[in-house]
Amino acid sequence: MADHAPNRPAAAKPPANDPFYVGYLPAPLSARILAVVLAAALPLVMCVCAVALNALRPPAGDAVWDTAHARTFKGILTARPYPMLTLAEPVGNLPAGETLLIVEMGKFGGGQRAAGFDSQPVEITGYLLDRGGSRMIELDSAADAVRRSTVSFAPPSPPVTLGNRDLLGEIADSKCYLGAMKPGLGVVHRECAERCLRGGIPPALIVHDERGRAAMLILCAPDQSPLNERLAPFAGDVLTLKGDITRRGTLLVMAINPDQIDPTLTSNTSR
């Protein structure tokens, strides 16, 4: 970065032949040619490296996090296992009956603000996250982003039971997976996922079918209690979970017994 004055007198003549580079003398021809070659080649080599590193990298996923448009959602709020809203009225392309998870900004779940509104009709202002039909609302920072609705809505349909299954997938935080971070899976994202889960973001199991299509299942205990702290150490791991699956709108929920997770069967996945 900085240099010491060399230990030689200031006046000096460049060598007549036998090129020899010294930083404080006029550069010999070979050094000038080198500078021109490097000036042309270095950016070129760096560009080739940049293209090579980007080639064959799989796309991050079709998640959308619409932070540009705050929307108002109306429906019945359910607090357990995680805050979620069942729409009473369509919002954009979302039909009535659709169920959306609710979280705060940053790496925090929506439990605190949703707690007083369980099974109540509410209006919510927030931002939509959407990936493959799984959806989430990130609450606006305004104090009244969750407010009781003056209009009553019909209670949501009961969850549809889909049976008990064994599924192989990656433990993830649902917010990043749904578009808060792309990619929101994998080894590099592991610590972020753990931080999100410890902050209350609903944990999810991301599974793929034989054609590579992904699906997200929110994970909770059989008694509908949240599993954030129990699953945080497994963030980013690929493992097989066994549990009862239910569907609320398009939202899939899997009730698992966390005591049956076998950490020795985990493996890391590649994205």
Binding site: M1, A2, D3, H4, A5, P6, N7, R8, P9, A12, P15, D18, F20, Y21, V22, G23, Y24, L25, A27, A31, L34, A35, L38, A39, L42, P43, M46, C47, C49, A50, V51, A52, L53, N54, A55, L56, R57, P58, P59, A60, G61, G106, K107, F108, M181, K182, P183, V187, V188, H189, R190, E191, C192, R195, C196, R198, G236, T266, S270, R271
Partner: protein, 354 residues
């Protein structure tokens, strides 16, 4: 040691050097981000922050490879010495890029949560016992701390304060930083992608760094085969005609000390091969304006007595030279320092292939 320090002794050379380096970095970052956007469909694109993070991280590791390879490369191809001469600028630039990568990663992956980002990062340490939870980000943090130390002490004032031996020892930590960076990338980005390209490029980089250093060490080992001295301690350095004017030949004593013997206007002078500045190989230097000139940073010594020209005060050891039957011979034992002068053997520092 010195008559004065300035923050940066700018010259046209340094401006050209820094312009090329910064131009290369900007071109890389621009092309990286552009190709990312070009290759990925808009609706399936990676987050902008992660694209920038990847661009900065990969740029830093590429520059680190250049820094580590340029030393041995310049030994094999002296035309590259100008790149070596200002390598410290490249080192500081690399640190700044790595720092930007680290800060962005820390904020993005560990920020916005219920724990401050640094605590969140440090809390991953216990995972070191398992491959699946191996805290690769901590390896990057450790490398960044070392790179900060190197960048912060890159100025010659620290060379004076710490002594050349300590300073060089500290800066050899760049190899530890490199090992940490390689592990950081291998356990992180390489393990986390299905693409083989990052792993292949990283392997090629490691092979290049190791291969060049091994090749340099083998060459030095060959050159360092100590010559047998006669009973009076004289070593044969070759025929007088084999010496190029203003250049040197290097011989190694049985004890492993290198001696540079210069042909200066037909007279022969021998000095210790190690520059007092950063341990550069004086034997690869040249006599300019009557002074032995180090190929690394141009430090100079008078061939007759090993002293730097006034007002500078450095001195390298000198050795007796004689001509016998048309052959140059050098005494393996250094001449004693003049009374009242410090022994130039003190703080001698040898850089084998840095």
């Amino acid at each position: 040691m010195s008559v004065g320090f300035v923050a940066v002794q700018w010259s046209r050379h340094k401006r050209v050097y820094d312009s090329v380096a910064i131009g290369g970095v900007l071109a890389y970052l621009g092309v990286f981000v552009f190709t990312h956007k070009l290759i990925e469909p808009v609706d399936r694109a990676t987050s902008d922050e992660i694209v920038v993070m990847r661009a900065l991280g990969s740029c830093a590791i590429i520059l680190l490879h250049v820094i580590l390879c340029i030393g041995p490369l310049a030994r094999f191809f002296p035309v590259l010495l100008p790149v070596l001469s200002n390598r410290r600028h490249l080192g500081v630039l690399t640190f700044l890029i790595a720092l930007a990568h680290g800060v962005l990663s820390l904020v993005y992956y560990h920020g916005f949560g219920n724990v401050d980002p640094l605590n969140s990062l440090l809390s991953t340490a216990p995972g070191i016992t398992e491959v699946r939870t191996f805290p690769f980000q901590l390896l990057g943090l450790a490398a960044l701390v070392i790179m900060f130390l190197l960048a912060a002490t890159s100025h010659d004032v620290w060379l004076s304060v710490l002594s050349p031996r300590v300073w060089k020892g500290l800066h050899m930590l760049v190899y530890l930083a490199y090992a940490l960076v390689v592990a950081h990338v291998a356990f992180g980005a390489v393990r986390g992608t299905v693409s083989l390209i990052p792993g292949v490029l990283l392997s090629l980089g490691v092979l290049s760094v190791c291969g060049l250093h091994i090749a340099g060490a083998l060459r030095e080992s060959r050159d360092d085969r100590g010559k047998a001295a006669d009973e009076q301690g004289w070593l044969d350095a070759g025929a007088c005609e084999s010496f190029t004017p203003a250049r040197a030949k290097t011989v190694c004593t049985p004890e492993g000390e290198r001696i540079a013997i210069f042909n200066h206007n037909g007279a022969f002078h021998a000095v210790h091969n190690v520059c007092k500045h950063q341990g550069g190989p004086l034997g690869e230097g040249k006599i300019i304006d009557g002074c032995i000139t180090c190929p690394w940073h141009g430090w100079q010594y008078k061939p007759e007595d090993g002293c730097s020209p006034p007002p500078f005060t450095e001195q390298v050891r000198t050795y007796s030279v004689r001509i016998v039957a048309g052959r140059v011979q050098v005494q393996a034992a250094a001449q004693q320092p003049e009374p009242g002068k410090a022994d130039p053997n003190d703080q001698a520092l040898e850089v084998r292939h840095g």
